[in-house]
Subunit: 230 residues, 2 copies
Amino acid sequence: MDLNLQKYFQAAVSVDNVVFGFDETGLNVLLIYRGADPYRNCWALPGDLISLDTNLDTSAVTVLQNLTGLQHLYMDQIRTFGRVDRHPYGRVFTVAYFALIKIEDYRVSAQSWAEEAAWFPIHDVPDLPFDHNEILEFAKEQLKMKIRKQPIGFELLPKHFTLSELQRLYEAILDEEFDVRNFRKKILSMDFIADTGLKQNAVTHRPAKLYKYNARKYNKLITSGFDFDL
Amino acid sequence: MDLNLQKYFQAAVSVDNVVFGFDETGLNVLLIYRGADPYRNCWALPGDLISLDTNLDTSAVTVLQNLTGLQHLYMDQIRTFGRVDRHPYGRVFTVAYFALIKIEDYRVSAQSWAEEAAWFPIHDVPDLPFDHNEILEFAKEQLKMKIRKQPIGFELLPKHFTLSELQRLYEAILDEEFDVRNFRKKILSMDFIADTGLKQNAVTHRPAKLYKYNARKYNKLITSGFDFDL
DNA sequence: CCAAAAGTGTTTAAATTACACCCATGG
DNA sequence: CCATGGGTGTAATTTAAACACTTTTGG
């Protein structure tokens, strides 16, 4: 490598973010409606080419904020996709990231060339441009793996939540059902959530206890890892 | 994005391969001695800038073969590293891959601008250029995670192996010790290895039975996953 | 008093752990 | 016959799985 280095320095790199959110309806993913070429006028993952003077991880955050207004969230790199023909404008490698947010805590607003930004139920996502469907599938697998290893469920739930909500979250992500008693036993024994002493109100049935997560235990488990098997 | 697209298409992408091999001495990693700038004359992971007309996964294979002569091995993408200043020649994103090989089955030979290629014990790796030490650490973590989830141990052992060899491999990778009886019980119960009927010979102690792996079960477990917890 | 979801224990089976001695070979 | 690593079983504990009824609230 010497003067013909030039030929290597002709690639672009983009970031594509898979942002998961959870609400009564289940697990959702955030998409934007593209107001720019290529693939103008279709729904896609919020992603963009990245500026070459910025660290990769920082770019992921910047791109997401620029398109959807979301900020202050934790993003995790999941994989790079690099098929030659994945982008019509040239050789573009894309690095996929994922993030989990409490829908209620954030206000999503389309910005820059994103004309809209909206949540789509995870089982009702349209055909996406580029290799975004492939990226989304990969992200879903990662999420499944991750929730079995780390207590990340809280990042998707409001500050105070019921055990039923937590169970519905696990069921939505893992796409399987759990026995109520065994689920509660397991979660409580892991000891990373604590009773707040509060209860639901204005519900038409027995009000559920509200729990919060225990940051101390949470951080310990994040590093030491655990196994959620039910 | 429009005519100023040009500014995005000035990045280069490289691949860095972390190839693990196992022998009597333990777990090793393959390094090359760089005969090209930058960082000429030092040991580094076998990696290179990639040609922009080739798919990413294919490039990983090509780069490794080009530098070390290794081919026909299975490579897994692990992560992309993209700090702005990680490469002195410009903005270079590097995609790290890892591979596992049976040292005895392959002949490593330095090629192209690699002046040497050699195995280094995993606990005795020199300071490496770029962010290669960071990449290697990350790869070691991945390997630990992976060996707990998939029966990949065989990719590092000769066709026929003893249970003690397998145990030493697990111990080397996971960096912990296991009870002989429990290890054997666990491994045999998983049913992905089979007795060959053969025994070691020319050893100065009771010869050990030789086992081979069971491809049927292996493939089933690769997809369904399992848990190695001891 | 009805509907709707919350909450709660026990029994059984399976998996994991801890632990110590005899075996087969070569020198 | 000695040194070296190979090979084996059981009991105790822990963890997972299956399973059904009572409680509390609002309407």
